[in-house]
């Protein structure tokens, strides 16, 4: 883990950056630097401070401590416009392209040429100029295409082109591959390499370690707002990075396998949703953890949603030998099949309501008395039980859910599911965006549930989770089950190979 030679001068150097939120430091004297023509990856767990650091750079905060040296000059960046004018652009995960305008209009935003009529725009010039930029960058985009119709990956290109037009020196990508398929990732890496050759300094934020060897020159690891270390990429192994990120070995946070599969609880037969997945057939046993492994977009989430009836699908689902014909989340919950959804913000949190209301949302019919009367005491007791069981912190049932940390929000949502006492639980990305401590707790919880005889389906992009927790693993690729593995035999690498098999890249 040596710091690389200082051959070329840094274009950007951030020194002893500290940023506090309500007195709590999110960044604690962080040093970070980028050289022109390099890709410097910034990695860390959620809440490690990656995004905060980049927000400081993008001028989103005015009250940070420490100094920023840009092109050899000390500067204080206090607003996003200034950052852009200096030549620093951030491409966020949720892009800032205007979907209803064309590629050319997006690229040339703020650079419109005046036309002949007063206040009019010379569209032809705009188009030509945009085309020139695209050709220069060798982007395969038509300037008159509407941006909203492009795939996410191609929208990223539009945003890159816009940044390049503004003569950007430092380009920050904030988790750009989070919602891309592997072909798109390949293309994006191609683009980034091209930018590197043009002499741009690229900062690449990610929590997917697997892709770093393919793109990064140097890596800086953040943990709890502090820099753990900066390494040059060829010298460091991914497993070392994992240890630096987590502060401990990953293996030790997984509980031991101790589930004993019993009789069949759930039978899925020829489940098909055209365009999403085809002919999914499997059985799930009591006390079994069944992993669904696959890349993002392979159809895992859609399968889970179809099982609980959140999406319509052909084929049959049987619970304890009973055919479930008209499935809906409400019906399935009553019968004992519950889904912990993937996107916490969109599908999990009941926003602006309290923890008590959130954990009780699914079981109000059990708590209510005559004419739907809900005694406040019963609500509180039921919430307190879940809070204690899930160890939600702070243990206050009357707090609004969005004021909790991500990990605790996830505990609330899992707690809501467990309150219904289901026989079958589908966990879709249960550890997305939560800290290591909570992750470990979640793993133990899943193992305990299985040991107590619950049947569990586990979906995760972190293949190591599936490999370490599941008793049996189904590999999903392009909406089909393409393989089955025994959990004890699987490891991260073999799973990854199975998930990607037959794909370019």
């Amino acid at each position: 883990m040596s710091v690389q030679d200082n051959t070329s001068p840094c274009i950007l150097r951030m020194t002893r950056i500290t940023k506090r939120f309500s007195g709590v430091p999110a960044l604690d004297s962080v040093d970070f630097e980028v050289r022109p023509g390099e890709v410097h990856a910034l990695i860390g767990e959620n809440g490690a401070g990656k995004s905060t650091l980049m927000n400081v750079l993008a001028g989103r905060f005015t009250d940070y401590e420490g100094s920023i040296t840009f092109r050899g000059r000390d500067t204080r960046i206090t607003n996003p416009r200034q950052a852009l004018a200096m030549g620093i652009a951030v491409i966020y995960q949720d892009l800032s392209v205007l979907p209803n305008m064309t590629v050319a209009e997006n690229i040339m935003l703020h650079e419109e040429r005046p036309g002949r009529l007063p206040w009019s725009i010379d569209r032809a010039a705009l188009q030509a100029e945009a085309e020139r930029t695209l050709a220069q960058l060798r982007f395969d985009l038509r300037p008159d295409e509407q941006v909203g119709r492009l795939s996410h990956a191609r929208q990223v290109l539009v945003e890159v082109a816009r940044a390049i037009r503004r003569d950007v020196q430092v380009l920050v990508f904030d988790e750009p591959t989070a919602s891309l398929g592997s072909q798109d990732v390949q293309n994006l890496f191609e683009t980034i390499r091209g930018l590197k050759e043009r002499g741009l300094a690229v900062v690449y934020i990610s929590h997917r370690l697997g892709e770093l060897p393919r793109i990064a020159d140097r890596v800086t690891v953040l943990r709890d707002g502090k820099v753990v270390g900066t390494c040059s990429m060829p010298d460091v192994k991914v497993s070392d990075l994992t240890r630096m990120m987590l502060g401990r070995d990953l293996a030790e946070i997984f509980p031991e396998r101790r589930s004993k599969p019993g009789r069949i609880v759930l039978s899925v037969r020829s489940l098909t949703r055209p365009g999403a997945f085809h002919d999914i057939t499997f059985d799930l046993r009591e006390g079994e953890i069944l992993g669904l492994a696959g890349l993002v977009g392979s159809g895992r989430t859609e399968i889970a949603r179809a099982i609980v009836g959140a999406d319509a699908a052909l084929g049959t689902v049987e619970l304890d030998g009973r055919l479930l014909l008209r499935r809906s989340p409400a019906v399935c919950q009553r019968l004992g099949i519950c889904l912990v959804p993937e996107d916490r913000k969109r599908d999990g949190n009941i926003t602006s309501r309290t923890v008590a209301e959130n954990v009780n949302a699914g079981i109000l019919s059990r708590l209510s008395g005559f004419a739907g009367y809900l005694a406040p005491g019963r609500l509180r007791e039921s919430a307190a039980a879940t809070i204690e069981r899930m160890r939600i912190d702070p243990p206050n049932p009357w707090m609004e859910i969005q004021s909790l940390s991500g990990g605790n929000q996830q505990k609330v949502i899992v707690g809501r599911t467990l309150a219904a006492d289901p026989k079958v639980i589908l966990f879709d990305e249960p550890t997305q965006g939560i800290d290591v401590g909570t992750k470990a707790q979640m793993y133990r919880l899943i193992a305990d549930l299985a040991a107590a005889g619950r049947a569990i389906i586990l979906i995760s992009s972190e293949l190591i989770e599936v490999a370490k927790l599941a008793d049996r693993i189904l590999v999903v690729r392009d909406g089909r089950i393409t393989g089955e593995m025994n959990g004890a035999d699987a490891d991260e690498d073999s799973l990854f190979a199975a998930c990607c098999a037959g794909r370019p890249d």
Binding site: D347, I350, L364, P376, E381, W398, M399
Partner: protein, 410 residues
């Protein structure tokens, strides 16, 4: 553990000290202004009034019709919806009540009135369900649906009245219809001094506004439901004490106008339903995050539909009551613009357009604020055109202040 957490609910045991100190001083200054402004308005209005003792009674009588509809609107808006068609539903229901009484002119007055009321309520429920069905089942935006039904329902009213002719209640039912809905209920023997009534009214209003503007006021060690209940009891007590006529001439007891009584009943029933039942929790959950609630097993479509049915129901009640005042109804322009005042009350109260938050006490506070200003201006003889301007300014000011305060809290 955790059973003693009720106190933290009110004091909000989060956010470290430094930012909080700033938040209080910045936010509450503006908020205090609103509360003080309202108190000043009340005092001016009371001093100007001919019968200071009846001030509160008159205010509530004036506010009752709008208030009943606002209760239903609160359900709809907390659930994340919107109902522009309430004015039209009230108009149609008024017409329905009169038309139903016509063939019953010969029957016993009370029977005729009950039958007409029952039919009108059914009409209100059906109209609300029509809104709700299109919004919940088909998934069309509530703004579009209720904007359309605003026209459709009013048109239906015009059709049944042959192009908007004014319909009059038959002579034989005239008196009893008025008496049933605009008479007084007498509570024998109850006496509260007039000055106390009005003073208490202003005080309760201020308390509500304090709650509405989210002042960081340290309440006594009460949890939220208990505090809500106490306030409800206080208001109930006041309503009983309202409309008290002078002690001297033939003291019979405390007189309460029927519309105020109905408003109180609807309000209390609404508070119970929204805050103390399963359905109410589902409404909040649906407004908070419909997708998440649905995945958690709430039948959100049914809940959404039901909120519009509630809105239709209260519109019918208001329609019957307001029609009784003149014993005539017409559909061409009656209650046009009512939806705006009702929505304004809910918004000024602090229920956001997105739903999931807010509640009936907020709506009551917003309603009182708007009605006091309107009544004050009317008393001073200010023309309708200026009243509208002031009302509009009031709405935007209150919401702007709220927005600024919320932003500064972040």
């Amino acid at each position: 553990m955790t059973l003693d957490t009720k106190t933290t609910a009110e004091t909000g045991a989060k956010a470290p000290v430094p930012t909080k100190a700033r938040r209080v001083s910045l936010g509450s200054l503006q908020q205090l202004t609103i509360v003080a402004l309202w108190a000043a308005l009340c005092v001016v209005s009371i001093l100007h009034s001919n019968e200071p003792a009846l001030w509160l009674g008159n205010l509530l009588k004036y506010a009752a019709g709008i208030g009943i509809v606002a209760c239903g609107m609160t359900f709809v808006m907390v659930g994340g919806g919107f109902d522009l068609s309430v004015g039209s539903i009230v108009a149609v229901c008024g017409v329905t009540a009169v038309l139903m009484m016509k063939p019953l002119a010969g029957a016993a007055p009370l029977l005729a009135i009950s039958v007409a009321t029952a039919v009108t309520v059914c009409v209100g429920l059906v109209l609300g369900a029509m809104n709700g069905a299109v919004i919940a089942r088909v998934g069309v935006n509530p703004f579009v649906v209720t904007l359309s039904s605003m026209f459709i329902f009013r048109g239906m009213g015009l059709v049944v009245t042959h192009g908007g002719q004014s319909q009059v209640v038959p002579q034989s039912l005239y008196k009893s219809y008025y008496k049933v809905y605009w008479g007084q209920v007498v509570v024998p023997g109850l006496y509260v001094p007039p000055w106390a009534l009005t003073a208490a009214g202003v005080l309760v209003g201020m308390l509500l506004l304090v709650k509405l503007t989210r002042l960081r006021f340290r309440w006594p060690r009460l949890n939220l439901p208990a505090w809500t209940l106490a306030l409800a009891l206080l208001i109930l007590g006041l309503l009983f004490a309202l409309d008290y006529t002078k002690l001297g001439d033939a003291f019979t007891g405390l007189k309460i106008a029927t519309p105020v009584l109905v408003f109180a009943a609807v309000f209390i029933a609404s508070v119970y339903t929204l805050n103390f039942t399963r359905f109410g929790h589902y409404v909040y959950a649906t407004g908070g995050n419909e997708r998440a609630s649905w995945l958690a097993g709430v039948s959100t479509k049914g809940v959404t539909l039901a909120t519009y049915v509630v809105s239709g129901l209260v519109c019918a009640i208001t329609g019957v009551i307001l029609t009784a005042l003149n014993c005539s109804a017409e559909a061409s322009s009656a209650y046009q613009g009512m939806e705006m005042i009702v929505i304004a009350s809910v918004i000024v109260g602090g229920t956001p357009l997105g739903g999931g938050q807010g509640g009936l006490f907020r709506t009551l506070a917003g309603l009182l604020l708007l009605c006091t200003i309107d009544k004050l201006l009317t008393d001073f003889g200010v023309g309708a055109q200026y009243r509208q301007i002031v009302t509009g300014l009031m709405i935007v000011t209150v919401v702007a202040v709220d927005t600024v305060v919320k932003r500064s809290n972040k």
